[in-house]
């Protein structure tokens, strides 16, 4: 039990030390944190047995909402930008959700993909408003009224992201264990019974869908602010696929796995892109096949199993259980 908690705590401490211990990794890690939060959104849906191939949609909606807000309100405050962006993602989550929660499995996955492709083509085609393929700039927001230099601002973003990772990760884990989170997860095993408990499966799924959209939105707006520019690539299917990949890599259904997966993914990608840039999708696809077929519980599953073997106890599967 103590080992289980000690290792994540150490990892968090190590990440918190990055801006001082290894500044060259700071930006990379910040992007990984942002992506990790978005991946938790995909993970939430996996808990209900659903996979979305279009969640980059909410990632992009939040990022563009932030960019539009900053454009119309120069010097807008960081907190306002975050709130508006995430609210944008959550509201779109309700609207899209009202439609897609009527479907499961193939339809759910593909309709999400369709929505993201629609948004992507709007971003590309209506370039008078969206800047087309070049995207639009997202100028640095002020922080409590102060316009900061790049260095301190990036530091603030880094620790803000880390704080959000902890807060949202904690919230999501707690929500999974709560009555409403449990009702949501029963979508995976028995909707008939759910109906005969007087609950609308659509409503139950919608709750989780909006949470997942908001989480993707948090990831997207952080990514947009850190990069300073938002492009249609934010909504592209490859990004959605990447999120699904990371969620499955980390451990389908595990919140901690989403963050571990995102960190591993970003690090490997950064160093591999030098010599494997051309075959990156191919590596991902190949890896995805291997995980899905041979290690469906992902990195966290392997971690649990290893710990269990070392300590000689049955793996505590409270968190990773799907």
């Amino acid at each position: 039990m103590t080992v289980r908690l000690a290792i994540p705590a150490l990892i968090l401490l190590a990440v918190a030390a990055i801006p001082f211990a290894a500044p060259s990794l700071q930006l990379l890690m910040n992007l990984a944190l942002a992506k990790g939060i978005a991946v938790v959104g995909v993970t939430v849906l996996l808990r209900a047995g659903q996979v979305s191939f279009g969640h980059a949609l909410f990632f992009a909606i939040a990022a563009y909402a932030a960019a539009f807000l900053s454009a119309s309100m120069p010097g807008a405050d960081l907190v306002l930008v975050l709130v508006v962006a995430v609210a944008g993602a959550a509201i779109s989550g309700v609207l899209v959700g009202l439609f897609v929660v009527r479907y499961r499995g193939i339809f759910f996955g593909m309709l999400n993909l369709a929505f993201s492709m629609i948004f992507w083509s709007i971003l590309e085609k209506f370039y008078h408003y969206t800047g087309g393929a070049d995207g639009i700039r997202l100028p640095r927001p002020t922080v409590f009224g102060m316009a900061l230099e790049r260095g301190p601002f990036e530091l603030i973003m880094f620790y803000l992201s880390l704080a959000l990772v902890i807060l949202l990760g904690w919230f999501t884990v707690r929500w999974f264990a709560s009555p409403s989170g449990q009702l949501f997860q029963t979508i995976k095993t028995n909707e008939t019974r759910l109906q005969y408990l007087g609950v609308s499966p659509q409503r139950a799924l919608l709750t989780g869908y909006v949470l997942s959209a908001a989480l993707c939105g948090v990831g997207g707006v952080i990514m947009g602010i850190v990069q300073g520019v938002v492009t249609p690539e934010f909504a592209w299917w490859i990004r959605s696929g990447e999120m699904v990949f990371i969620a499955v890599l980390g451990g389908a259904g595990s919140v901690a796995g989403a963050f571990v997966g995102a960190a591993i993914y970003e690090i490997v990608r950064t160093y591999a892109s030098a010599f494997a840039g051309d075959i990156w999708q191919m590596l991902l696809g190949g890896f995805l096949l291997v995980i899905v077929i041979f290690a469906p519980k992902g990195v966290i599953g392997i971690y649990d199993a290893t710990l269990a073997r070392l300590t000689g106890t049955r793996a505590n599967d409270g968190e990773t259980r799907k």
Binding site: A177, S178, P179, T189, Y196, G198, S200, R321
Partner: protein, 249 residues
């Protein structure tokens, strides 16, 4: 004259060539335990499906407490006080027995707090008691996939009871339960139903159980109610002995 809780009027439904409900009319009185008997394929499950809104009849109406519920979704009918246990247990297979009950009671109480652990809710004791009542206390923390068919049927009933319904519909509650246990379970169940003032309808093939625990019996054949009356009357009837009891033996 006692009060009518559920009333089915002229229900009709067909699947291709099969007429599964052929002008079915039946009233169920408050506080009674009614048994439905009849050969396989007679349309007993179909009747329960129509009463709970799972199937919409081509013709006819279902009234619950005088209110027309024919076109309501199952979950709306459940909210009015109708719970159901299934011929094939409908459980959350990745959850434990206790968790299945906790989820049920969470639904009943509409618990919403996003940060409260479901295992710490106030009704936990009540649910443990319910599990104990159906004789499954010892498997409370086992995932239901690992349990026997009989245990799953009992938990399915407990999940329905956790909703505190006015009317409980049970589809073959004791099939799959070891015959030595059947009477014990029914004994407890019928007592609990009486205590909680729950009306029940149960589909049953075991005539011993029917004669002992049913206040009334309805005989199903070829998509319709052929006969209805007290257990003594019905189980002695030559037609029933020939068509239903003979087959069940």
């Amino acid at each position: 004259m006692s009060e009518i809780l559920l009333e089915a009027r002229n229900l009709q439904i067909r699947f291709g060539g099969v007429i599964a409900a052929d002008n079915v009319s039946l009233t169920i009185e408050r506080g009674k335990n009614m048994a439905i008997i009849g050969p396989n394929g007679a349309g007993k499950t179909t009747f329960l499906n129509i009463c709970t809104g799972w199937l919409k009849p081509a013709k006819g109406t279902v009234l619950f407490e005088g209110r027309d519920v024919t076109s309501l979704a199952p979950r709306r009918i459940v909210r009015l006080g109708v719970a159901r246990a299934f011929q094939i247990p409908q459980l959350f297979t990745e959850h434990t027995a206790l968790e299945n009950l906790l989820i049920s009671v969470s639904a009943r109480e509409r618990l919403r707090h996003p940060l409260q652990d479901m295992h710490t809710i106030r009704q936990r004791g009540e649910m443990l008691h319910l599990l104990d009542m159906v004789g499954c206390a010892d498997v409370a923390d086992r995932p239901v996939v690992e349990l026997s068919e009989g245990q799953r049927k009992l938990i399915d009933i407990a999940v329905a009871l956790a909703l505190k319904p006015k009317l409980l519909l049970m589809d073959e509650p004791t099939s799959g339960v070891a015959s030595s246990e059947k009477f014990k379970i029914m004994e407890i169940l019928v007592k609990a139903l009486a205590e909680a003032k729950v009306t029940s309808v149960f589909v049953e093939h075991d005539m011993g159980i029917v004669s002992r625990y049913a206040d009334e019996v309805a005989v199903w054949a070829a998509g319709n109610v052929q006969m209805r009356g007290s257990p003594e009357e019905i189980l002695q009837h030559p037609d029933v002995i020939r068509d239903v009891i003979g087959e069940a033996v």
